[in-house]
């Protein structure tokens, strides 16, 4: 693979992410990694469900009393939209439009930052209410589940920002196309996990 090989939208391969051996390896590798990450989240979800509303005798916090849907809804919208913008970026990658990739990936980062900001606000709010990490088994499980997802968001943001800085000026080639593709796949995964968190933690929490 020659990194200096120049492409036009006409000569750009249909599947640039798997056009080279390295790209194909990355493509298969990230899927396999996400499979294992799924099991990681499944374990944390199971722990949360087992410990939901559990605490020391006389604990006043319950999921029903604590969680509010409007904030969670806003976070959901931000993250779902950020997934959409990363789809746009991949669409532009198919057409060998480097500027489009950078722009829409940057949008993804901005929306992701918005999500993260709201999540930090939410956590701080709970701690103010007295629902800190060490308050009960319920609080530990809640912060661990949502925090693990939040950590994945942070890693994704660092990853995509790094890609944007590194590739801001050098256009698309068969070396960085698989990298963008892997990052976008990871971002979709984070989004899907959030859908489950929204359902299991917030919706099911509020419904009781």
């Amino acid at each position: 693979m020659d990194i200096n090989q120049k492409f036009t939208p006409q000569s750009w391969p249909q599947h640039s992410e798997t056009a080279t051996m390295e790209g194909k390896n990355k493509f298969v590798g990230i899927w396999i990694f996400l499979a294992s990450d799924t099991v990681l989240f499944a374990s944390v979800f199971a722990t949360y469900l087992a410990l939901k509303d559990q605490g020391p005798a006389g604990m006043e916090f319950t999921a029903k009393g604590l969680f509010e849907l409007p904030l969670a809804f806003m976070m959901t919208m931000l993250l779902l939209t950020s997934s959409l913008t990363s789809v746009y970026a991949m669409y532009h990658m198919k057409n060998h439009n480097a500027k489009g990739v950078i722009t829409w990936m940057a949008m993804t980062v901005i929306l992701g930052l918005g999500f993260l900001g709201l999540e930090i606000y939410e956590f701080v709010h709970y701690v103010h209410l007295g629902f800190g990490y060490t308050q009960s088994a319920f609080s530990s499980a809640f912060f661990t589940l949502v925090g693990t997802h939040g950590l994945h968001v942070v890693i994704g943001l660092i990853w995509i920002t790094g890609l944007l800085i590194r590739n801001a000026k050098r256009g698309l080639n068969l070396y960085n196309a698989p990298k963008f593709f892997a990052a976008s796949l990871y971002w979709h995964f984070i989004d899907v996990v959030w859908v489950f968190i929204f359902t299991v933690v917030y919706l099911m929490g509020v419904l009781g």
Binding site: S36, T47, Y133, S136, A137
Partner: protein, 643 residues
């Protein structure tokens, strides 16, 4: 580059191994590190057996005994068996599928260094205030309240080395999916490659639950969380589930590659095609699948209820079916073959009855009502040692003899090997066979001593004699390894004369790029097919001789692992843990602990950023250089392996 072309000083060699991404060198690193920890854990076992040799013995204290039994189990499974199997996977699988290297050579090195630093971290506990002492299962109800830092070392050390194992697992899966030579379809892959694929898939799904379990324990003990503290609403059964969702597949993670190794050894020395290849593949996949369906059979006595116990009992018994298929296939491969009883074959022949014995006692324990009787007795100890020593250790020793010529271009002595086998094999049965009866007589496992005249004295004495024999066997093997340095170099392909799969088609010593041209695979047992057709070249090739693309060496994997190692000390000496607050464990100030944590992780992240900002495109070995290297290697072989 090639071992011949360039002469290096000692420092050059060390640097080479610290930065290497070559799967053959990483295999040697795994082999060396695995052997070291195997020796340490074996020594711990000997100390325990000496303590139990006679009743009311005071050779070691009860506390030290707990530490030894914990470290023996943990080390043997995570830090000895796993890396030793990884050594053979790394050395052989890329050759078996005709690849130049693994899919992610950088990650391969990272996986090794993470494992290594996790292992070193765990063992530092002996010198830093006491080793973990809650058993290798480290049940939360016990380990949560263990004073000192022992359990913290266990949690953090396994977290780091587990990350390494997971990375290596992903790497093997991708390698086997994408890097196969032309013609190497899935149903032509050698059994060892198949078992590596399935066992890596098990790693993929089994290690995340362990990661989560260890993380919950970590935050519970070091940062005041309440997952397992029942006074705060926690539940210790969560640990049991998470641990065994990992722990049971872990057994298959280890034993499947051992099955694969024997499936390579037996056809070579029976000089017959492996009987029932497709059923072997099917059985491997089925064992892998069922391995995830049976974890609660370790928890029959926890009180999950009759329904859960019944389901898990039936699922457990079902695993005996595909395993039985494998045993019959091995026997039918040997049946009617023209058998050569070499040392690897001797281990294979010893393996079959030993492993069957371990499997049968396993089915006995699957019967939930009987398990209430057997639970936590020496019967269990006997059972899993029959499976692990009879299955995995025999596979490792046998394969060491089998693959030594490919890995080192040297041979292990057959004579000494036969002696080693008998000493070890007799010692093994002497140690563990009688433990079945000790268990049935009611001797509980994990006790540091026992009263005289309960009928346990003789069997315990016999068991200790057996353990000492196993120790002698291992020492003989080490002597054999040391003697092999002086043995005559092999300098040719197909050392055993009856090799069937691709790894035997290569002349040793191997060039760093393995095959100069990617081979064309024309069927199952590709090298055997070529030999039958009188091909003197070894293989036919799928491409003309040309430039070869190879990955660059890198020091980053080592530095990244050191970063996690430093961060682990930050977590260990956290001032927010229950033990630290109660004053039963040393701690640093908040700033000190955070500085180590952030500094260590920062070092790791910095390496990741460097890695992603510096393009790593690898390098090309040009056609002329390939011809030159091949010529030098041919001269080297012609001179009998002397420079």
């Amino acid at each position: 580059m090639s071992s011949v072309a360039k002469k290096k000083g000692f420092g050059g060699h060390v640097w080479d191994y610290l930065t290497t991404v070559d799967h053959k060198k990483i295999a040697i690193l795994y082999l060396a590190a695995g052997t070291l920890f195997f020796a340490i854990a074996g020594f711990e076992a000997l100390l325990m057996r000496i303590q139990l040799m006679i009743p009311n013995n005071d050779f070691i204290s009860a506390g030290l005994f707990n530490e030894l039994l914990t470290m023996h189990g943990t080390t043997m499974l995570f830090l000895a068996a796993t890396p030793l199997l990884f050594a053979f996977m790394n050395a052989i699988v890329p050759l078996q599928i005709g690849a130049r290297d693994v899919a992610f050579p950088f990650l391969n090195a990272l996986g090794f260094w993470l494992f290594f630093f996790g292992a070193v971290f765990l063992h530092l506990s002996f010198f830093m205030g006491g080793a973990p002492d809650a058993g290798w299962t480290s049940y939360a109800s016990l380990s949560l309240y263990s004073p000192g830092h022992g359990i913290d070392f266990y949690v953090l050390g396994l977290q780091i080395s587990g990350a390494g194992t997971l990375i290596s697992g992903i790497n093997f899966i991708v390698t086997i999916i994408t890097m196969r030579a032309p013609g190497m379809t899935f149903m032509r892959m050698p059994l060892f490659t198949w078992t590596t694929l399935v066992s890596s898939t098990l790693i993929l799904f089994a290690f995340p639950p362990l990661t989560v379990g260890l993380f919950l324990m970590l935050v519970d003990r070091m940062f005041g969380a309440n997952f397992f503290d029942h006074t705060m609403g926690g539940n210790t059964i969560i640990w049991e589930h998470l641990f065994w969702i990992f722990g049971h597949p872990e057994v298959y993670i280890l034993v499947l590659p051992a099955f694969g190794l024997f499936s390579e050894i037996i056809p070579v020395f029976a000089r017959k095609r492996l009987f029932g290849y497709s059923s072997m593949v099917f059985a491997t996949i089925l064992i892998g699948f069922l391995g995830f369906m049976v974890w609660a059979h370790h928890m029959f006595t926890t009180g999950l209820g009759a329904t859960a116990n019944a389901i898990f009992a039936v699922a457990t018994m079902a695993i005996a079916v595909p395993t039985g298929m494998k045993v019959f296939n091995w026997i039918l491969t040997i049946w009617g073959g023209s058998i050569k009883v070499t040392v690897p074959m001797l281990y294979a022949l010893g393996f079959i009855p030993s492993f069957v014995a371990g499997g049968v006692t396993g089915v006995m324990q699957a019967t939930a009502p009987l398990d209430y009787q057997l639970h936590d007795s020496y019967f269990i100890v006997a059972h899993f040692h029959y499976v692990i020593v009879g299955g995995i250790v025999t596979a490792l020793f046998g394969s060491a003899h089998f693959y030594w010529p490919i890995m080192f271009n040297r041979t292990l002595s057959e004579k000494l090997g036969v002696l080693t086998f008998w000493v070890f094999f007799i010692g093994f049965h002497l140690t563990f066979f009688v433990q079945h009866f000790l268990g049935l007589m009611g001797m509980p496992r994990r006790v540091f001593t026992y009263m005289a005249d309960q009928g346990w004295d003789t069997f315990n004495f016999i068991s200790t004699i057996g353990a000492l024999m196993m120790g002698v066997g291992v020492i003989l093997l080490v002597i054999n390894v040391l003697l092999s340095i002086k043995s005559a170099p092999v300098n040719r392909r197909d050392y055993w004369g009856d090799g069937r799969s691709l790894e035997w088609a290569l002349e040793t010593p191997l060039p760093f790029y393995n095959f100069k041209q990617t081979p064309l695979v024309r069927g199952y047992d590709p090298y055997w097919i070529e030999k039958q057709e009188g091909n003197k070249e070894g293989m036919v090739y799928a491409e003309p001789l040309g430039d070869i693309h190879m990955p660059n060496n890198s020091i980053l994997p080592l530095v990244m692992s050191i970063g996690t190692f430093i961060a682990a000390f930050g977590a260990l000496y956290s001032p927010w843990g229950d033990q630290a607050i109660a004053g039963t464990a040393e701690s640093l100030s908040a700033t000190g602990s955070l500085a180590l944590l952030i500094g260590g992780l920062g070092l790791t992240v910095a390496c990741m950023i460097i890695r992603s900002f510096k393009d790593d495109l690898g390098f090309h070995v040009h056609k002329e250089e390939v011809i030159q290297i091949e010529k030098e290697l041919a001269e080297f072989r012609a001179k009998g392996g002397k420079r």
